[in-house]
Amino acid sequence: MTDLRIVERTVENHANKITARGVQVHYGDKHALKDVDVDILDKTVTAFIGPSGCGKSTFLRCLNRMNDTVATARVKGDIRIDGVDIYDRRVDPVQLRAKVGMVFQKPNPFPKSIYDNVAYGPKIHGLTRNKAEMDAVVETSLRKAALWNEVKDRLQDSGTSLSGGQQQRLCIARAVATSPEVLLMDEPCSALDPIATAQVEELIDDLRSQFSVVIVTHSMQQAARVSQRTAFFHLGHLVEYGETGNIFTNPRDPRTESYITGRIG
């Protein structure tokens, strides 16, 4: 995982999953995101880095239309997933969010049982026909989130009774339970201790085989460890985007270089 060259090689043959063109976001009068163009590849981990307040979360939340729930937010531009404009009037944002899963900064399991946490998404979208199917979905999701072995005997315990790292993996299991194609993660490790962080990072690497993963992180080491492509945001602009190895070893923009070397941010 630390060997960037191996990672680089796998990148090349994947197709575009998300295409964003000219994305602008305003919160009331505040221009939070300015003209962002980006292509996110399938089966790839893409990291968004940049100083805090630069618009990483804002852009991430455009990809599953979570910004729709913010009254002051206005989104302009064109975002397509598999060529479909997700801001088209025919696209249902609620269904989109099942297709584009999201994991948040602070682990936020529902105060319900572990089972119900994972089963909630499939249940409201009617993805299973009976209890046996649901059991199977719950098990696969927990396995994908590398949590199954730890919780298989206590599925009826409250999700909030788990440790922080387990809670975050439960949230990942909950997000993958609706079989999304894209998984968005907004600083998923910032509330975790180093051991839990390592587990989640390892998990992210596994998830890449099935999803297109977009991860916001404030830790450049993390971006280097888990991602194949990195986008650097600064003051609402997408400054530089490319293969992670290139961004870190050979940045083209002086702002990227200053940030990576620790001079801004």
Partner: protein
């Protein structure tokens, strides 16, 4: 620049100096003073509460006992019309019984007045239930009338000059004769809970008021709870945040502060005036109380909804729940304990509310408990109001007793609210 600021604040701090010690002592003295002030405030509050309770209990406890006389009634042919048991001369029967019981008594009416006015009905009911008693003797324990009840409880001072005393010497002597025979007892006053109102204190009870309050609160709850929660959910979760919703919010807060008598006037004008609903009806009382409780429930519900952390909403939205699903699957269940607590406290307020009920006539004199929410009745607070206004001595202690009953219900409701809050608080 860093050097400069270091130099300008350059006075070295000596944490062991006398001034430092003085500052610590001053701070500790201030903390001690604050603690003392707080403790004395609590002490004063508790003293007031204790005083209130003591005065209520010391006058009210007597009302939980009622003096009774045990008499042997012989259903003689002379007084009883066999074909018309319901309307025989029970008054005469009792007078005869009492004349026999009190040695040297001549005035039958005067000695029969020892017994409650209700005694004749007790005697009647007994034989109506068992007609074979005709010509035979039955033993009955009947309440005594209010003045004798007072005498037995020691509330009439025997040393008062006769002309200033409610009971004259011969009346006291007659009663003492019964006492000497061991016929007088004072068991628990079941009438206080089992009877409706009466002109005679010894027969007056809270049954009508309890049922009236129950029906009114039931109506209030059934109306205010769903409407209040519905309004709160809409305002908090779905309404666009604009001037209209601000205006509504301000007005709901204002409504919560409107004096209850105003709601009473409104109910009088609208429910009784326009809709022609009856006076003294618990259902109408419940409608009125619902108007009052609604803002309380709306405010409590909104607060409880607001207290649900946004992370839960985000989590649900993130897996593709619609806003409605977010509210009904996650936010509302988590807010429910808070909502219930607020509702119970609102209902407890409504239970004690008097003014609006007075205005719709729930202070009527009704001697039967309501069978349905649509029969006229009183409610607990208005019953207290009526009794407090009554001249008979016996109502003094009964007023306090009724207040104790009301307080008992309030304490129970608040305890339930606290229990719910502690039981379900903060599960996330």
């Amino acid at each position: 620049m860093t050097d400069l600021s270091l130099q300008s604040g350059a006075r070295p701090v000596d944490w062991t100096s006398d001034q430092a010690g003085l500052r610590v002592r001053k701070r500790k003295a201030a903390e001690t003073r604050l603690k003392l002030v707080g403790l004395s405030a609590i002490a004063v509050a508790f003293a007031m509460l204790g005083l209130l309770l003591w005065s209520l209990v010391s006058t009210g406890w007597q009302a939980f006992r009622q003096t009774h006389v045990t008499i042997e009634v012989t259903y003689a042919q002379e007084f009883i019309t066999p074909g018309n048991l319901a309307r025989s001369n029970y008054r005469g029967l009792l007078e005869a019984t009492m004349l026999e019981l009190v040695p040297g008594a001549t005035d039958g009416r005067r000695v029969a007045a020892i017994l409650s006015n209700g005694a004749q009905f007790a005697v009647r009911d007994r034989i109506v239930a068992d007609p074979s008693l005709l010509g035979r003797t039955a033993t009955l324990r009947v309440p005594v009338s209010d003045p004798y009840d007072q005498l037995w409880k020691g509330l009439i001072d025997r040393t008062t000059p006769e002309q200033n005393r409610r009971l004259k010497n011969d009346e006291i002597a007659a009663f003492d004769a019964l006492v000497a025979k061991g016929l007088v007892s004072s068991p628990f006053n079941w009438a206080l809970l089992g009877n409706a109102d009466s002109r005679f204190p010894e027969q007056a009870g809270l049954k009508g008021a309890l049922w009236g309050s129950f029906y009114a609160l039931l109506t209030c709850f059934l109306l205010a709870f769903p409407i209040g929660i519905g309004a709160a959910i809409y305002l908090e979760e779905f309404a666009p945040k604009n001037r209209v919703s601000d205006f509504i919010e301000v007005n709901i807060n204002n409504l919560a502060a409107v004096p209850s008598v105003v709601f009473g006037l409104l109910a009088l004008a609208v429910f009784l005036g326009w809709f022609g609903m009856g006076r003294s009806i618990p259902f109408v009382g419940g409608l009125t109380l619902a108007l009052m409780t609604l803002p309380t429930i709306i405010i409590a519900t909104r607060a409880a909804l607001k207290a649900v952390p946004p992370s839960i909403r985000e989590a649900a939205l993130g897996v593709g729940a619609s806003r409605q699903q977010v509210v009904f699957h996650h936010v509302l269940p988590l807010a429910m304990p808070g909502i219930l607590t607020g509702t119970i406290i609102g209902l407890a307020q409504a239970l004690g509310e008097t003014a609006p009920l007075l205005l719709i006539g729930m202070n009527a004199f009704v001697t039967a408990a309501p069978g349905t929410p649509f029969d006229p009745s009183t409610a607990l607070p208005t019953q207290i109001f009526i009794w407090a206004d009554s001249p008979e001595r016996g109502f003094v202690s009964r007023t306090s007793a009724a207040i104790l009953v009301l307080l008992g219900f309030l304490v129970m409701m608040n305890a339930l609210a606290i229990y719910l809050r502690n039981r379900f608080e903060r599960r996330w």
